[in-house]
């Protein structure tokens, strides 16, 4: 459900949701709780990837790890060159681990993130799982 606040027409909305810059987008759950924040302009592919990442975060925080893994996987498949693709792959692995408790989910994640996005911070974060099996 999309809601737009314009800085001149609805400045109180900026204060209410603590938006300090434009453009900013927030993904809220149905209770109105913020789950994801995007600040600053992004090219289309990166922006769409960030939105889908937000949906994954929403499912993750609900505890629906199957749905979260699907959302995160979709980011990687649809936007493999986006800046958030390695982050999405990271969280897809965490979601699978949270669902199954299988450490192979983390090791596979480390291998893929390191191979595909070796210079990303997510490769560094996942590196701790390389010996998880």
């Amino acid at each position: 459900m999309p809601v737009r606040f314009h800085v001149k027409q609805n400045p109180e909305g900026f204060a209410r949701f603590k938006a300090r810059w434009t453009p900013t987008q927030l993904v809220l759950d149905e209770q109105g709780e913020e789950k994801h924040r995007i600040e600053g302009f992004l090219p289309k592919d990166d922006f769409l990837a960030q939105l889908e990442l937000g949906l994954g975060r929403l499912e993750f925080e609900r505890g629906d790890f199957d749905a979260a893994a699907r959302e995160f996987d979709d980011v990687v498949v649809r936007h493999p060159g986006a800046t958030s693709a390695p982050e999405a792959r990271y969280w897809a692995g965490v979601s699978r681990y949270k669902r199954s408790n299988d450490p192979n989910a983390l090791k596979d994640t480390a291998e893929e993130v390191t191979r595909r996005w070796p210079d990303s911070e997510w490769a560094r974060k996942a590196s701790v799982w390389s010996g998880s099996r």
Binding site: M1, V3, G13, F17, Q25, D29, L51
Partner: protein
């Protein structure tokens, strides 16, 4: 994101109430672009 395809709401409370009713997430967009 194009205004040609997105029906933007402007009342946050109304949108929150509708989101609760239909169990859908909300996207809030904060813009300074000319409307």
């Amino acid at each position: 994101m194009s205004d040609r395809t997105v029906q933007w709401l402007t009342d946050a409370d109304q949108a929150l109430a509708e989101a609760r009713r239909v169990h859908k997430p909300l996207l809030l967009d904060f813009s300074a672009a000319p409307s």
